[in-house]
Symmetry: C2
Subunit: 309 residues, 2 copies
């Protein structure tokens, strides 16, 4: 199975309101809830692609219970989340029906105790023993040490399980140094890590910091990959319009499934770009449109990148 780790799971709530006006009262016309946090999104896409997938991380309180209930309805994803005392956070996306714009409200995560973090590390090592690959995704909740991902990367590498890291800030900086197989920063995370806003230079620099392969997601421009097998740029044939929520998570699912299936890098990148684009165009945020995905798959352009390095 493929393992995805979401230390800061969330209950993602979407509210539709006729028009958002600050300092007034709104009747919410539509409420949708889904289990959230990047690793859970990655798992949903992997399961839809036909992979066996197990999710782990933390879940607690009433919202944690709801996340697990909703997760149990996601075909194919096995729930190996660890219960914690704190409450799983909610995120609220308020969609203004008049403009289509979204206002996001994100609760802080639950405080994780040292005992809970230790229990997680033990459970994680156990789960890795039957994993073909692992994705470490998203932010860290309060109480989890900033070097957490570095430690989880080292554990995976000691057990020879390919590991992909998708996070930002200091957890990314430390995680990269532990030499993960793949990191997938977006443009902002890459710039924060390297100090460079020039993607080509920054991607190369991120690899020098320790990652075996760096796949930078550049929004509608697609992906830029520096790998031991070569350097590529992968772009969708059309500029997709829609909701980019979850597009990066779909790219991670594409990369990881391609790795597990032994696909060469260009095929992995095509799949990641097609999934990502089909997520932007899907009517429900975070889902991907299968017909669009299948249509795009053969039409993604993957071109070798000529690099100075």
């Amino acid at each position: 199975m493929i393992l995805t780790v979401t230390l800061n799971t969330a209950l993602d709530i979407t509210y539709r309101v006729p028009s958002l006006r600050p300092h007034s009262s709104h009747r919410v016309t539509e409420v949708t809830e889904r289990p959230g946090g990047k690793g859970l999104n990655v798992a949903r896409v992997l399961a839809a692609l036909g992979h066996e997938v197990t999710v782990t991380g933390f879940a607690g309180g009433a919202t944690g219970r709801t996340v697990r209930e909703l997760l149990s309805r996601t075909a194919g994803a096995v729930d190996a989340l660890l219960p914690v005392t704190g409450s799983t956070r909610r995120t609220i996306a308020v969609v203004d029906a008049a403009t289509g714009d979204t206002t996001q409200l994100n609760e802080p995560g639950p405080a994780i105790t040292p005992a809970e973090w230790s229990a997680f590390q033990a459970a994680y090592e156990q789960l890795l023993r039957s994993a073909s690959a692992v994705a470490l995704c998203g932010s860290l909740p309060p109480g989890v040490p900033v070097g957490a991902y570095a430690q989880l990367v080292r554990t995976a590498r000691a057990l020879a399980v390919p590991v992909l890291l998708d996070t930002g800030g200091e957890p990314l900086r430390r995680g990269v140094a532990a030499r993960p197989d793949i990191v997938k920063p977006n443009a902002d995370e890459l710039a924060e890590l390297t100090g460079s806003h020039e993607p080509l230079r920054a991607t190369r620099d991120a690899r020098r910091r320790g990652a075996h392969a760096v796949v930078a997601s550049l929004g509608p421009d697609g992906l830029l990959a520096h790998t031991p097998d070569g350097h590529w740029r992968a772009a969708p044939p059309v500029r997709a319009r829609g909701n980019p929520t979850g597009a990066g998570d779909s790219a991670v699912a594409g990369l990881l499934s391609g790795l597990v299936e032994g696909l060469p890098w260009p095929a992995r990148l095509s799949r990641a770009v097609a999934l990502s684009t089909a997520t932007v165009t899907a009517p429900t945020a975070g889902d991907f449109d299968r017909a669009v995905f299948e249509d795009l798959l053969g039409r993604v352009t993957v071109t070798p990148e000529v690099s100075a390095a």
Copy 2:
């Protein structure tokens, strides 16, 4: 005991954000949760005044479970809520820390089935047999007939239990016609019911529609009461500054506790105004400040109202 009915209970969530900017992403710095819906607020104040109080109405889903968990920590309020299949709604108050202004997002209530409504009516009649008074509070969730309060008023009157109605719109219009002992509309509800924006005239008119006593809450101006014993205006000695959330519910608790204790109308009105004002000035929305309440109690001015009727 005093019974309070909240057909549309809620989980009241308050978010504090540094500054609310539509169409951007916000980190919530503080999250508070409390059991909500007007009848639950009334019950909390009655319990704080030393009364035995039972709450009934509907609770369902994960938010319903949370409401009941939080309610169980409110000393003195007995939980007689009926479980339903639908999910209890959330309300979210987003407080802008920069300005102090609040943006409110209210989910719709759960759909109540005919069987659930029938079960409630039977449970309500049973609870009334040990009640000294009952308050019917707030909006109706989908599925509950618009004449629901009229029916609940008639049941209470048939069992000789004094009944106070605090709602608006068509449920108020129908409820008043069933001759409740007290209705407590605010200025907007009163104007909607009677078509008049002149409080004195509108209060008199509301009484003619069937209520034995009408107590109109006029915000910082206090209360205007038309009762079988006389007409009064009750006003706080100072204009309170603060959060008016729950002030009307505190007024209901004041009126109902005074009725049960056999206080004359002027004393009931003083208590209601003092509680209401002490709720506006309290640091936590919906709570009342006991010291302010006790200080104000003797200083509320209750003056007989000279009426043309």
